[in-house]
Amino acid sequence: MSGGQNIPVAEQAGNPRAGEHGALSCGRTLSFSRETGADFDRLLGRYSTKQSALLPTLWLAQREWGWISREAVDYVATLLDLAPAFVWGVVTFYTMYNRAPVGKHLIQVCTSISCHLNGAEEVFHECKKRLGGLKSGEVSPDGKFTVIEVECLAQCDKAPAVMVNDDDYFVITKDKLDAFLGSLK
């Protein structure tokens, strides 16, 4: 947001209504499925305050809906007696909560120092190129791929390291890229 603009907050992109947080809307009201609801109930017993269950509850929300929408933020806030703006503040602090839908395969390329020394940046750019010139964070038209750059995955001995959704892939050098992408159906 640039300074000096005289646009009311409510009319700015990403601010659907005045006084609300800026999460994207998914266009429908949300509530946990029975299974996730049971997982949520179990969570609460593990902490001495309700708020402490925020990170795990957001994980449940992401498992259920794939990303954290405005409605998900509001729902989680209600569950834990927190302000939606506070929940959104926590969501935006951490990198792993998706703030927009992602492809079926979220390809996370580590480019931190040990992977960098083994050519990770090239792998990252080549990966986007071979998926039809995808931009970082963008979803491919078929909905299958999103490529992002991430910081150290603690797999430095297997550099360059890549994580796809929850799975680890090792030594993804440029020449192995086609085989790697082909393995993601």
């Binding site: 593990r46 902490y47 001495s48 305050t49 708020q51 402490s52 269950a53 925020l54 990170l55 795990p56 957001l58 994980w59 834990l80 927190l82 503040g89 926590v90 602090f93 951490y94 990198t95 792993m96 909560y97 480019t111 931190s112 120092i113 040990s114 960098h116 020394l117 083994n118 991430v150 910081e151 150290c152 995955l153 603690a154 797999q155 430095c156 001995d157 297997k158 550099a159 994580m163 929850d166 799975d167 680890d168």
Partner: protein, 457 residues
Amino acid sequence: MSGLAPIEPVLLARRGKPNSASLGTYLADGGYASWKKVLGGVKSAEWTPAKLTDVVKASGLRGRGGAGFPCGLKWTFVPSKEKRGDKPVYLLCNADESEPGTFKDRLLIENDPHQILEGMMLASFALEVKHAYIYIRGEMVHGAEILNAAVKEAHEKGLLGTDVLGSGVDLTITVHRGAGAYICGEETALIESLEGKRGHPRIKPPFPAVSGAWGCPTVVNNVETLCCVKHIVDRGAEWFKGVGRNEKNTGPKLYCVSGHVEKPGVYEAPIGIPWEQLLAMAGGIRGGRKLKAVIPGGSSAPMLTAAEIAGVPMDFDGLVAARSMFGSAGIIVMDETADIPKAVTNIAKFYAHESCGQCTPCREGTPWLHKMLKRVVNGEGKKSDLDLLLQISNQMGNGMTICVFADAAIAPVISGITKFREEFEAYIAKSNHPDFALAAPEDLTNKVADRTASWRA
């Protein structure tokens, strides 16, 4: 250079064994013997929290997470029962391993989770903890699953729960997943994150041992530290003290070697082995090339040139003497083909991305450093940039911020520019920036002086 005799793996003894993560194989290998031994000695007062703390203190164990603070001493900072009243004590296992170049805790978690749990149980006994947490970084999804399964198994076998093995001791362990934030490895940020907030480090004092999670006395220990506790109780403090370079650097240590070596990986050795011995374990420099620089303790440690690291004992005091730090023992090796300005720029990118944003010098300074370094390696640098980078760095560190993140961020920049200045200057010499490429710092200073003079006139 005198080497240290290699040791049989202790922390990694069970690495690669079939089903090493299961309780069955852990018990078959003699696991939980210490936990049973300690619990069996509760009623006879053969084992008391104070006694267990004394054993850990006597071992000389220093925290393996980065700071190298004596573990037993840290435990004694927790206020006594009289002073803390009804407040519970919490133990947090720091499994938020995110320091670039560090990957030892992941190996322990994925290969031998019960070793960590047993270390936590013993530490919990010493600290009179009834509920301990493992804060594991969000990216280690399978690691969290493995730990959860291990905790469940331990509960089912009665090794955790209420009145464990009839000893009257209660203990629960909860696995808590982070969500992607390097700073949460800092112990007070970790506590904030556990409480369901942004991971903003807290101002100290109060230290967590007095007021930590939910305002209660809290001890945060690294995964490897807790594993060491298990082996200290197994084999005794004297054994632990007998491994390592000297009495201030004791025990077996996991070294993470990555970068340009033949066999990157985690190596277990007595703490304080000389650099050359460690490099030989990792198969030497890749392709028979020459060594250029080493970052010896994760990306936050100042880099050392090949000459500076020669013969250095790889431990807390050895690397301080070499004007770097041991940190998390993430050893990043760069051979003669490495481009130091690009490597420093890459590390600066990491810190610019990970600054929590709480303190201005760090929030503003880290992106400045990254932008300027990017400018230099992109061939748009100015001759004054290098001194400006050093100047900004000096204004960020040395106690300007709540935590030591800013000091970590400037270490690679300062060490890189001062030790490999000619490589940065080579980039600037090729700079496309016509206005500034040829201006010497003195000229700029004179220009500023001239302008000031004209204002005054």
